[in-house]
């Protein structure tokens, strides 16, 4: 027994010694900003990337022709200025003089041409290929001019080229063909952004250092580190104990305790890259059912009255208060409020009103004919019992589903709740349409075009349309906004589109969640928190923060 306690004793002493000897972040006087997040880039190769985390790093180590500001506008970056021809087809960019890649090579219009052609040539690039869909030719008449000709006018071209990070031709030309283009790891990450890649381990960390020669204002910190934490509680604990200086996300449940932690400030705001949660109705008409589709949606959901009644029976404020703990705003359309001018805030939403919901269903003949407490189809063939599914990895959906089941039951509608593995959910969703109601969501671009496209009938066979909605008027408006160069006109069309789908109630948008982030006040100062959108990990903050004196 003595032996055992000796061993345990040694163990404890060892642990305490080691615990005591750690501590000081980054010696040698360098200021190192440590960011904790739950993700990690999937690859440093911009062509092959799928995850939003990758794009956060690209924003720091690369530069594009234009920059997206936190107020939703586009500002000059590599391109000093640009002009558009009247037909919207020819875009001419003037490239900034004297820009160098991090390896010292000058960045010229040739690199821009190479990059654009490279992204366009690879169909297997998940996003980059889509951003170049309208490109016809790219030319460099001289070292500082890029002439981009499009096949169709693109009013949202800025929102696409903002993601086309300019790559050095002298490095990438050896990896430009075939499979090699995706498999090139790009660990050196030679770019022209405000930061330079120092060290990277997938799933562990990204270590960047400041680019002192950056052509705009260079960063004020020496190094930035992104450390991956695979669970959110650890992330919260990391900032509480001062092991990181900023965290990009946290569970809403942690906000209250973290607000009381010394030297920590919690900030919330509309996210830069919003993830929209939506309640999706299967409205697929039999004639629109795709070839492989099962199309087993409940017939009542194809009736606009039922969907509107369900919208009346949805208490969005309660959902915000309970599901998001108040950290959000009631939702309205699939285009979130953080998309600024594109968000149609003038739409009058269906208020929470169970009496109206019940009256609408009564009037439309959905009565409880068999007296079991659940309404039935007007012909009595089946009851208004809907399957409600959601992805099992969603943190908000389970509670959202329960609350929906409660208020919808008050309108005489029964829900059968079941969480599914996201992959299994994909396979019943679309283009199979083997569901009634789904809680899911979309990630969004700064431009609404992609989000609007999921409600067009063109996307029914591709599986992008989750509702099976087919409205020729909507489709026509979608095509029109795609080529309308005048921003005011385009905004009017997009607002009209949101009105149409809101009135048809093919989606109920329960809420828009806020981004919740936190930083330590005793380490760095200058975080940008007063803009319309919140993203402390964005380059806008990282180039201005400086160590606390």
């Amino acid at each position: 027994m003595k032996k055992l306690s000796t061993i345990i004793g040694i163990f404890v002493v060892l642990a305490l010694t080691l615990a005591a000897c750690g501590g000081s972040p980054a010696g040698a006087g360098a200021s190192v900003l440590r960011i904790g997040w739950a993700g990690s880039p999937d690859t440093l190769n911009p062509g092959a990337a799928l995850l939003a985390e990758s794009f956060v790093i690209y924003e720091l180590a690369y530069s594009a022709l234009v920059d997206l500001q936190l107020d939703g506008t586009y500002s000059p970056d590599l391109a000093e200025s640009w002009t558009v021809s009247d037909d919207g087809l020819v875009w001419t960019f003037t490239i900034r003089d004297g820009v160098k890649f991090s390896d010292g090579t000058p960045l010229t219009a040739r690199d821009v041409v190479f990059t654009f052609e490279f992204y366009q040539a690879h169909e297997e690039f998940p996003y980059m290929n889509g951003y170049t869909y309208a490109f016809d030719t790219v030319e460099a008449p001289d070292d500082r001019t890029v002439v981009l000709t499009l096949t169709t006018p693109a009013p949202n071209l800025e929102s696409q080229i903002v993601f086309l990070y300019i790559l050095p031709e002298h490095i990438w030309k050896d990896h430009a063909e075939g499979q090699a283009a995706s498999e090139f790891e790009n660990l050196e990450m030679v770019g022209s952004g405000p930061f330079i890649m120092k060290d990277y381990r997938q799933g562990e960390y990204v270590h960047l250092e400041a680019n002192r020669d950056f052509y705009l204002s260079p960063p004020k910190v020496d190094e930035v580190v992104f450390q991956t934490f695979s669970n959110l509680d650890a992330l919260v604990q990391a900032i509480k104990t001062g092991q990181v200086d900023m965290i990009t996300e946290m569970p809403n449940t942690a906000v209250a305790t973290l607000q009381e932690a010394p030297d920590v400030r919690v900030v919330t705001g509309p996210p830069l890259a919003p993830d929209i949660t939506d309640i999706v109705f299967n409205v697929t008409e039999p004639q629109d059912c795709p070839e492989d589709g099962a199309c087993t949606g409940h017939p009542a959901l194809r009736d606009k009255t039922v969907r509107q009644a369900l919208a009346y029976a949805t208490n969005k404020q309660e959902l915000v208060d309970i599901v998001l703990l108040g950290l959000g705003t009631p939702g309205l359309t699939l285009i979130p409020d953080s998309l600024g001018v594109w968000y149609n805030q003038t739409i009058q939403d269906f208020p929470f009103d169970l009496a109206t919901a019940n009256r609408m269903l009564d009037d439309a003949g959905y009565l409880d004919s068999d007296g079991d407490g659940v309404r039935d189809m007007p012909d009595g063939s089946r009851s208004l019992t809907f399957r409600l599914n959601w992805p099992s990895d969603s943190t908000v959906a389970p509670r959202l589903a329960e609350l929906l089941a409660k208020t919808w039951a008050d309108a005489g509608v029964q829900l059968e709740l079941q969480a599914l593995d996201p992959d299994a959910l994909s396979s019943i969703c679309c283009p199979t349409f083997d569901y009634d109601v789904i809680i899911w969501g979309w990630g969004s671009d700064p431009d609404p075009s992609f989000l609007l496209s999921v409600m067009t009938s063109y996307e029914i066979p591709s599986g992008m349309s989750e509702t099976g909605y087919n409205n020729p008027e909507y489709d026509a408006l979608f095509d029109e906004q795609n080529v309308t160069m005048n921003p005011q006109l385009r905004q009017e069309i997009i607002w009209r589109m949101q009105e149409i789908v809101h009135d048809d109630a093919i989606y109920i948008i329960p809420f828009y969640s806020k981004a919740v982030q936190a930083y330590r006040t005793d380490r760095f100062t200058g975080w940008i928190t007063n803009q319309p959108k919140l993203a402390l990990e964005d380059v806008t903050s990282l180039v201005v923060v400086e160590p606390v004196e």
Binding site: P25, A26, F125, P126, D423
Partner: protein
């Protein structure tokens, strides 16, 4: 001579098991519904054309195996194609060349990713296993010798509690306690961005990061070892030869060391060998709690993303290590108990 045929026989079964695992691994993940191209990605920017191109890149456009499109018996694929152009035989062919494929998620070779992760996991499990074997066996032995005393009851209660603790719960509790009061790191392998004056400092930093996950895993595993060791030793101590040893006037230490321990080690070797496989599963939880970049965390993420090459590679690796751990246990048996090889 007999020893050699015993060894060969065991080796033969190990190889057969591995072949079986290779086939099972391949089909297991493809039975699951869904699509690696869309798994986890909900972004309208990922167009249908891009998805198709990704499918071609991953080789998922090819039939899984002749006559089966998926393993769904209702959907049959073409039967008269060249078997070498089916996903299964391409996989098998690459495996023969020693290639585990390219991860769908990171576009990197699976083999090199696994090598990094495996080393990290071995580091974590290695320390914890050594501690728990030493502590577990010692405590079990002592408890059995001092049976029905306070020491015994204390050990028994401790091991029961430790064995039944949910791993992730213990991990989270230790994480909070350790980082708040001892200033221990909450996750990762090194303090990222730290400037090290030398290799020694870096090693100390690694040890600091190992403390909490190692304690968690040690506590969880050691409970089981204590329990089993205690009951086995109790059984052995009731044998006649222990009485004989006592009668010969041997000291307590000699009896325990030379008579009880060696006989009680037989079941322990089985448990430890079997456990090595389960520890990787246990490590999934610990690695997730402590953000430890090991095999368990990699598997956890690969499942969510339907990263078939990564999953196949990782499961093959685990299967091979479990099979070899058992093979070694078998060989140790014949060393500990010479009667085994005859049977």
């Amino acid at each position: 001579m007999q020893r050699w045929s015993f060894l060969l026989n065991k080796l033969k079964w190990a190889v057969i098991s591995i072949l079986f695992v290779i086939v099972l691994n391949f089909f297991l993940f493809r039975i699951l519904p869904g699509d690696p191209v869309r798994a986890g990605i909900r972004d309208p920017r990922l167009t249908a054309a891009a998805q198709e191109a990704l499918r071609v890149k991953y080789g998922l456009d090819k039939p899984v195996i002749n006559c089966f499109e998926t393993l769904n018996p209702l959907r049959t694929g073409p039967c008269l194609i060249n078997p070498l152009e089916t996903q299964f035989f391409i996989y098998a062919g690459n495996l023969l060349k020693g290639e585990l494929g390219i991860s769908y998620h990171t576009n990197r070779p699976v083999a090199s990713m696994l090598a990094t992760y495996l080393w990290n996991t071995v580091l974590l499990i290695g320390f914890a296993e050594i501690f728990s074997i030493v502590l577990g066996i010692t405590a079990g032995l002592v408890a059995a010798w001092k049976s029905r005393t306070a020491v015994d009851f204390g050990t028994l209660i401790f091991s029961l509690v430790a064995w039944s603790l949910p791993t992730f719960w213990l991990g989270i509790v230790l994480l909070f306690a350790g980082s708040t009061w001892l200033g221990l790191p909450v996750g990762g392998k090194f303090t990222i961005g730290q400037f090290y004056a030398g290799g020694g400092e870096k090693f100390l930093d690694l040890l600091r990061h190992l403390i909490l996950p190692t304690i968690t895993l040690t506590v969880v595993v050691m409970g089981e070892y204590m329990m089993i060791m205690r009951s086995t030793v109790l059984e052995v101590l009731s044998e006649d030869y222990i009485l004989t040893a006592k009668a010969k006037g041997l000291s307590t230490f000699q009896i325990l060391k030379d008579h009880a321990l060696r006989n009680a080690m037989l079941p322990m070797v089985t448990i430890i060998a079997l456990n090595l496989g389960f520890t990787v599963a246990g490590a999934i939880q610990i690695e997730t709690v402590f953000s430890w970049p090991g095999l368990g965390l990699a598997i956890f993420e690969a499942v969510g993303r339907r990263d078939y090459p990564m999953l196949q590679g990782a499961f093959l690796l685990i299967a091979v290590s479990v099979i070899f751990a058992n093979l070694i246990a078998d060989l140790l048996y014949s060393y500990l108990d010479p009667r085994v090889q005859v049977g």
